[in-house]
């Protein structure tokens, strides 16, 4: 009996869709056979090759046009594709710039660390100054509970926070905290925010830094 050959036209489809469709097709073969996938970029060829070889298949590719490649993944036996595996495929683009980081700094007190509050205030001031010296500034600084004092008038960190805000860093201070401490009228940098936004920023961050 002739082996099954499936053809997928994945031209115009963004990574990782060609890999996802090919992987599903390999699983659907349920035995020896081939999947030929037509793609329009070389990165997709590389990703398909990596996926196919990772599944123990033979992979060949041929450039058939200026923006057309045929990638053939040949399985000598049934390829096991776990439930959810195709959906878990991520796009790997060699040489591409890394995705921008979304660093959020959560400042929860006027002091950094515990022990001596006088020292702790100096350390927090030093930390916020150090943020200004980073090559890559954080995306957001959220200030809550005692940290809310730092974005208000009289704060020793105000100049640094203002510089960060004016450089594109989102500076958010908890409105409930400002009200609690009776300092809502003294907010001097950034915006007042609420817990929904704070929760969104913290959960949406690639990295949360809490000094």
């Amino acid at each position: 009996m002739a082996e099954t050959t499936l053809t997928i036209d994945a031209r115009g489809e963004a990574c990782p869709i060609p890999v996802v469709r090919t992987l599903k097709a390999l699983g659907a073969l349920a035995g020896p056979g081939s999947v030929e996938t037509i793609v329009d970029n070389e990165i997709a060829v590389q990703n398909l090759t990596r996926m196919g070889e990772g599944k123990g298949c033979a992979v060949s590719s041929e450039r058939t046009g200026e923006k057309e490649w045929h990638v053939t993944v040949t399985a000598s036996e049934a390829v096991v594709v776990a439930s959810g595996e195709p959906e878990a495929v991520t796009c790997d683009v060699p040489g591409a710039a890394p995705a921008p980081r979304n660093v959020v700094v959560a400042i929860t007190a006027e002091t950094m660390g515990t022990g001596d509050d006088v020292l702790g205030r100096k350390l927090m001031g030093s930390f916020i100054y150090s943020l200004t010296q980073l090559d890559e500034l954080p995306a957001t600084i959220v200030l809550y509970n005692g940290g809310a004092h730092l974005s208000c008038e009289g704060s020793p960190a105000l100049d640094d926070l203002r510089g960060l805000a004016e450089s594109g860093v989102e500076v958010l201070t908890c409105g409930t905290c400002l009200d609690h401490y009776g300092i809502a009228d003294t907010l001097a940098v950034g915006e007042v925010t609420n817990m929904y936004v704070i929760a969104q920023r913290l959960t949406g961050a690639s990295l949360v830094v809490r000094p």
Binding site: V118, L119, K122, G125, S126, F127, Y129, S130, T132, Q133, G163, E166, S167
Partner: protein, 84 residues
């Protein structure tokens, strides 16, 4: 807002207490500057330092000597500053 590297005077101290004494001294005398963490270009150690303009070196040295604040070194390094 842009950040540029600006030559800055960094005063380092043998102890954290001396750095805090410098802050008190400068605040009382109205001398310019601010506390920063000791930059790595000055020392690999961990500590607090006083940052001011290079032109403030003599005034700071005199004031700190008068108040008996021990100084480890005065170094000029380039630090990032916001330019408004």
């Amino acid at each position: 807002m842009a950040r540029v590297r600006v030559p800055s005077l960094v005063v380092s101290f043998p102890t954290t207490a001396a750095a805090m004494a410098c802050e008190e001294c400068c605040g009382r005398r109205g001398l310019p500057g601010r506390m920063i963490p000791l930059p790595g270009e000055v020392s690999a150690g961990c500590g607090l330092a006083w940052k001011a303009s290079p032109g403030d070196r003599d005034a700071l040295a005199t004031a700190l000597a008068d108040d008996g604040v021990p100084v480890e070194a005065m170094t000029v390094v380039e630090l990032l500053e916001f330019v408004r």
